[in-house]
Symmetry: C2
């Protein structure tokens, strides 16, 4: 775990006034990385850092001579339209760059006091910016790390055997689709696919009627490992660049019919939405939590997955929220319905365990690779992270304020995930993840892909 | 299907003498694409084309003024260390370039007759070259398209229910790992992983004891489709750049313990070996075959997967061979054991069906994406494409000429897959795929990744 330093000082304020607002996701203690350009411009996408309602243009900082030495080299890596080059430089590069930016942006920064005009050179208002995916994602792996989610889903599909015997030993995961990961705000086209009603008769091909979301955290790999070289558990977090929010859109009816024996495929790979800002493990240091407390009787992790740190800093104390609005709700000026509130401390396996398990067979992780946590569900009904669970397979539909009901998602529905580390009693500010948002578009006509 | 033209003329010969040998994989009618550089040089990897025992340096052809117009533009795309740029240019670009190279390399080429010295400028002997992966692979999907393989494996894991109800309707597939795909000749490190003996008791972590190969064909996507835009079945092959050989190394003991409910993960993602040469669909045009003949009673494909062409050209008539040698066999100067001979006509789903199904939900395929066919197994014992099947889960071990036996792979074992379209009675030459080879290296010590 990162030692705390002056970048975590809860009393530090920024000369970017909006960063000092108690409600902002992006105080000077956060400084998450993303990729942006001015909207409606022909600028190249490049790396920026969020502060308050502004984006720090890292390349502009460097070109203005505000970064030197290693930080200038790191800033050179920010010229690319993805974080990959900065990620490849290893954890120290981004850590130093975050520290340099914190010093530059703080109240009392000698640079700013000498020349307050730098603000206009290095800041781009978020409202004027277009954000894209944080990195070129080589491989995307989705885990299944919430035991409550695994139990809920298992009890629907296998009532007699909800949690399979491997669950408490193996961090279950599978490979997802990298090409269809999209930035927050992108429309989500309802997929067509094969589904079958009942357990007899032929399947049919058409639009999914059981479209769902999954509330997840995403984990970006920073520096990778060579093929054939596992990552010891106590080094795992050095390979993690940071965390973001992820919506693993899922077509339950397609999934039910296709998933045996090789797992989900077309039910998941039509779209995955990511939030634009990657909050670094460094920024999260004051918000660490114990790993999930395994109930008495659960096995201890095998040695390769066992870390002494887990008892105080295996987890991340991140609160999660999911809001839903229908087209009719938006037309009526109603605010979205809060469907779920959860906590990332509910996952059975730590992020470090996911990384170490993934590389334990020698599989190589590369800078920019993405891991999904799997749906984060808690024990309470309100903390279930998918509609499948929230409406219990559609048997307990949600009531929307318009009088509409929802078993699964309808065209026009918009799903927004937010996450944050809460303000602490010791004055620690709120550290937020921004939002991960997507709206369901109607399916294309089926004949477009038929004879 | 590509219409036949002069590039397919079986009487065409090349001034590259080795290309006229009846046994070569690479006659002038083939001209597969790959990525090479001179071994032990600091040259950049670039695109080349195999002919006989030589590689045509496409960029050198262009620089020597031997290609013009669109072909010179296509050759510019060959400067990259992967085929992706050429693939992105669409099927016509590679088709024209292959035709131009065929004209350049044929006996009677006016360019060669004027200046035979061009040979030394544009050819690199294969024995002096280093070959690498044909493309930067964005996403890798592995299918399960051989019904005999699915039935064999199913009968071991689920004796009462070998073939699941979805098999004859859905081209079953799952996402594999792109990062660990390696070029032919790379060593394959035996993976560590969790396995469990029997059905009770805790698992343990250590080297896999059931390491296996899988004999597959690989399919490279050429031009892709936009996210949300399916690919109609009759356009599917326009999105296929070509085919190669693939070995999907598999750790059966890890697979058995981890694969439910989300499919294979660490059992597969430690390594996949690819052959270096991609044989284009154009070159394969004279070797098309009917699609797999579905037995009476099997359902017809749903309309989105139904093509009128399937009856005469849905399949590819490719013969497959798999050889095994142990370290002791090589030390004794023995030739490898032919373990399997099979045919790519045995797969239940056509390549076009795999592509169309993959994109049927709007999933975007990109240039350089790779599809695996899944293990190609026929009905005969000798045509089973994995050791799992060939030794029937180890119960019928192979006898090696040294007196050794093999239930699964041992350290030092080398597996070589070859494939070819056989010479035809009408004089069609043999068109080969080269080889896909890998040797098993011993596992690293387990403590390297434990506490």
């Amino acid at each position: 775990m990162t030692p705390l330093d002056e970048t975590h000082d809860p009393t530090r304020k920024s000369w970017v006034e909006s960063a000092n607002d108690a409600a902002t996701d992006f105080p000077i203690q956060n400084l998450p990385f993303g990729v942006f350009r001015r909207a409606d411009s022909d600028e190249s996408f490049r790396v920026g850092v969020a502060i308050g309602d502004q984006i720090v243009d890292v390349v502009a900082c460097s070109e203005a001579g505000l970064l030197s030495g290693d930080d200038a080299l790191a800033a050179d890596r920010c010229r690319h339209p993805g974080l990959n080059a900065l990620m490849e430089a290893g954890p120290e590069a981004a850590r130093r760059l975050r520290r340099a930016l914190s010093d530059l942006l703080r109240v009392g920064s000698s640079v700013f006091e000498r020349d307050p005009a730098i603000a206009s050179h290095i800041l781009v208002p978020m409202k004027d910016a277009e954000l894209t995916l944080p990195a070129a994602i080589g491989d995307y792996t989705d885990f299944y790390a919430s035991i409550q989610h695994a139990t809920n889903v298992g009890s629907m599909f296998r009532p007699d055997n909800p949690l399979l015997p491997n669950y408490k030993w193996v961090p279950i995961g599978y490979h997802g689709r990298a090409s269809s990961i999209v930035a927050s705000g992108s429309g989500i086209r309802r997929p067509l696919g094969q589904t079958r009603d009942g357990t007899d008769g032929p399947p049919s091909f058409g639009p999914s009627r059981r479209l769902d979301y999954e509330l997840e955290m995403g984990v970006f790999i920073g520096s990778g490992n060579a093929l054939g070289s596992p990552i010891p558990i106590d080094e795992a977090e050095r390979h993690v660049f940071g965390l973001c929010l992820l919506n693993d859109w899922s077509a339950r009816d397609i999934q039910t019919w296709e998933y045996q024996p090789l797992g989900p495929f077309l039910a998941k790979n039509f779209a995955t939405t990511l939030s634009p800002w990657v909050v670094t493990v460094d920024a999260l240091a004051p918000y660490r939590a114990p790993a999930y407390r395994r109930p008495t009787g659960d096995p201890a992790p095998l040695p390769y997955l066992y870390s002494h740190d887990d008892t105080n800093s295996g987890g991340f104390d991140i609160s999660l929220e999911l809001d839903l609005s229908s087209a009719a709700m938006r037309d009526g000026g109603m605010k979205p319905l809060r469907v779920s509130t959860g906590s990332f401390t509910e996952i059975y396996w730590t992020v470090a365990q996911l990384v170490t398990h993934h590389a334990s067979n020698g599989c190589n992780l590369r800078a920019g690779d993405l891991l999904g946590s799997g749906t984060v569900s808690g024990a309470a009904k309100e903390s279930r992270g998918s509609l499948l669970e929230r409406t219990w397979r559609g048997t307990e539909p949600l009531q929307l304020p318009t009088g509409e009901t929802r078993a699964f998602l309808e065209d026009g529905d918009e799903v927004t995930i937010r996450g944050y580390c809460a303000r602490g009693e010791d004055g620690r500010p709120r550290i937020g993840f921004g939002e991960c948002r997507g709206r369901v578009l109607p399916a294309l006509p089926a004949h477009a892909s038929a004879v």
